[in-house]
C-alpha cells in the first residue's frame, strides 16, 4: 500500500521539486498510514539517490536505463511497480505530464494535476490551481487509485533525517521515440523552481539593457524572466516568457521591472508570495497586485537596488 513517488532528475541531479514531491508523499503516507517508495529513472548516483531518504522515502527503486522522455516505457515501469499502491505522486512538469496521463489510462486511475494541498483522508480530495491561477478548485478522485501531479513550490520541504535503501532494476524495453540530443543553458536557474525571479518587460526598451536585470538576478541568486511581448520580439528567449501562456511563477519573491501588469501576465505570476514592482507609471495595473512598489525609472532604480543588495550581502 506504499505511496509511490516519481522523483524526476536532470542529468543525474535531483532538484528542489523532486524533494518536494517526496515531502508531499510523506505527508500523504502519514494520512494513509503507510510508507513512501521513490522511483528514479535515468542514471543517478547512489549518493544522490540517498538524499531522498532525508525527505521521507524509505526505499528507492532506481531504473537507470529508461529515458524519462520515453513515456511509453516509463508508464510501463510505473504500472509494474504500482500494483500495491493506491496513490502515485509526481511533479507537475512537462515530462511527468507525458508519463502520468498514460499511466492513469493503464491503471484506470484518476489523474489530478497542478495540485497544491494534501488530501486529508484516504478518499483523495485536494485543492488544485485552475483557470490559470485565477481560481482554486477542490477536486476529488472517483476511482480506487489516484495519480497526483504537484505544482512546484506549492509545498514546503520537510526534512526527516531518515535514510533509504536502494534497489536497482533492469528494464530493457524502449518505446518508439528516438532522442537526438538536448540543448540546455548550463548554470541557469530554472524559473519554475526559483525562489526569486527577476523579470523585465517592454519598459526596458531593448535587449541591450538586460545587463542590469541579469546582474540583479545574479546578486540575488535569482532566475531571469520576461513578459510575453519581450520574448515575441526576440529580446529574450521564449523559455523566459512567464504568464498565463508562458511559464507559471510560484517563487517567494517576484520582481517585475518595466512590466505593466496585464491580466494575462498577472495570471501566471500572482502565486508568488511577495511581488515587487518598479514602473515609471503610478497608474500601472501591476501596483494593485504588488506588495511593494517603486514609481521610478528602472534605469535609475535598478542600479541602486543592485548596490544596496550587495551591501546587505556583504
Amino acid at each position: 500500500m506504499s505511496v509511490l513517488v516519481y522523483t524526476e532528475s536532470w542529468n543525474g541531479i535531483f532538484r528542489k521539486s523532486s524533494f518536494e514531491t517526496v515531502s508531499y508523499a510523506s505527508e500523504t503516507a502519514k494520512v494513509l498510514g503507510t510508507d513512501v517508495i521513490a522511483v528514479s529513472l535515468e542514471d543517478v548516483s547512489d549518493d544522490e539517490l540517498n538524499k531522498l531518504g532525508n525527505y521521507g522515502a524509505t526505499k528507492v527503486i532506481s531504473v537507470p536505463n529508461i529515458n524519462k522522455g520515453d513515456s511509453q516505457s516509463a508508464a510501463k515501469v510505473f504500472l509494474d511497480l504500482s500494483s500495491d499502491s493506491s496513490v502515485i505522486i509526481c511533479s507537475n512538469t512537462y515530462t511527468s505530464k507525458m508519463i502520468a496521463p498514460r499511466l492513469s489510462v493503464k491503471m484506470g486511475a484518476a489523474l489530478l494535476t497542478n495540485v497544491i494541498s494534501v488530501s486529508e483522508g484516504s478518499d483523495i480530495q485536494i485543492k488544485r490551481k485552475s483557470f490559470s491561477t485565477k481560481a482554486i478548485e477542490t477536486a476529488k478522485s472517483n476511482t480506487e487509485k489516484t495519480i497526483l501531479c504537484i505544482a512546484p513550490n506549492s509545498f514546503g520541504l520537510i526534512e526527516t533525517g531518515g535514510s533509504c535503501t536502494i534497489e536497482k532494476i533492469d528494464f530493457s524495453e524502449s518505446g518508439s521515440l528516438s532522442f537526438d540530443g538536448q540543448e540546455t543553458a548550463s548554470g541557469k536557474i530554472s524559473i519554475s523552481e526559483a525562489e526569486i525571479v527577476v523579470s523585465g518587460g517592454r519598459g526596458l526598451k531593448g535587449p541591450e539593457n538586460w545587463g542590469m536585470i541579469e546582474e540583479l538576478a545574479d546578486v540575488l541568486g535569482a532566475a531571469t524572466a520576461c513578459s510575453k511581448p519581450v520574448s515575441d520580439i526576440g529580446w529574450r528567449p521564449h523559455s523566459e516568457h512567464v504568464g498565463q501562456t508562458g511559464i507559471t511563477v510560484t517563487s517567494d519573491l517576484y520582481i517585475a521591472i518595466g512590466i505593466s501588469g496585464a491580466i494575462q501576465h498577472l495570471a501566471g505570476v500572482n502565486s508568488s508570495k511577495v511581488m515587487v514592482v518598479i514602473n515609471t507609471d503610478p497608474e500601472a495595473p501591476f501596483f494593485k497586485a504588488a506588495d511593494y512598489g517603486i514609481v521610478g525609472d528602472a534605469f535609475e532604480v535598478v542600479p541602486h537596488l543592485i548596490e544596496e543588495i550587495k551591501k546587505l550581502k556583504n
Binding site: 536532470w10 522522455g69 513515456s71 508508464a75 512537462y94 515530462t95 505530464k97 507525458m98 508519463i99 502520468a100 496521463p101 498514460r102 492513469s104 489510462v105 484518476a110 489523474l111 494535476t113 497542478n114 480530495q125 485552475s130 490559470s132 485565477k134 481560481a135 478548485e137 477542490t138 477536486a139 476529488k140 472517483n142 518508439s176 532522442f179 538536448q182 540543448e183 540546455t184 530554472s190 526569486i196 515575441d232 521564449h238 498565463q244 501562456t245 519573491l253 491580466i263 500572482n270 508570495k273 511577495v274 511581488m275 515587487v276 514592482v277 501596483f287 494593485k288 497586485a289 504588488a290 506588495d291 511593494y292 512598489g293 517603486i294 541602486h304 537596488l305 544596496e308 551591501k311 546587505l312
Partner: protein, 248 residues
Amino acid sequence: MNILVCISSVPDTTSKINFTENNTKFDANGIQFVINPYDEFGLTKAMMLKESTGGKVTIITVGDTTVEAVMRKALAIGADQAVRVNMNATDSFSTATEISNYITQNSFDLIIAGRESTDYNGGAVGGMIAEMTDLPFVNACIGLEVEGESAKLIREIDGGKEMISSSLPMVIGGQKGLVQESELRIPNMRGIMQSRTKPLQVIEPSSNTKNTSSVNFENPEAKGSCRMVDASNVSELVDLLHNEAKII
C-alpha cells in the same frame, strides 16, 4: 496528410473568473470564449502542413452547443471540417475517451492537442489520447517538421530543449514555437463566409465515465494594498524585503 486538431473552447484570457451555484459551477455569463491559446498554434501548424503536403485538417471539440462559435472560428481560419462530441467536458479522461474513439474510427497521420487548456489546466488530454490509441507522444512541443512517414520534433524541457524523432502517426501537445506568434492566422472575410457552409458534424458520446469530479471553486485571496517606497530611497525597499518580508 490527414491531421486532427483537438480544440478546447476557453474563456478569453482577459476574463474575470466567477462561479455560481454555491461556487460549484463556472459562471459563463458575459464570458467571451476563444480557441485555447495553445491550440491556436497547433491549428496554424496543421494548416501549414496541409499546404505543403496536401491532405485535410479536421478539428474536434468535446462540448455542448455553446462551443460551436469557437469551432466555426477554427473553420474560418481554414480547417476543412469539424466534429463536435455532444458532451459537457468536465473530466480529462472522458474527454480523451471520446476523442480517441473518433481517432480509432477514422485514421489520422498526426493528432495535435495543446500543452494544456487555460481553463481547467489539466495538461492531460493529449497524453491520455496517446495511450488510448497506443501512439507516441511528445508534450510541450516547440518545433515540428514532417518528412514522409516520420517527424522531427523539439520539445521544451526545464531550462532548454530536446530534439526527438518519431514515426507517424503520433500525438503532440503543442504550444508557441510550433509556429511563431506572428504567423498565427486570423479569420478573414472569405474564411468566415466559407466557414458557414463547412461540415460540422455532431456525434453522441459513447460513454461518460468520469474519473474525477469537481467539488467547488474559490478565488485566490486578494492581496492587501501595495506598500510604496520612494525612488530615491531604494535602501528602504531592501530593508523591507530583508526585515519585514524576510525574503532576501
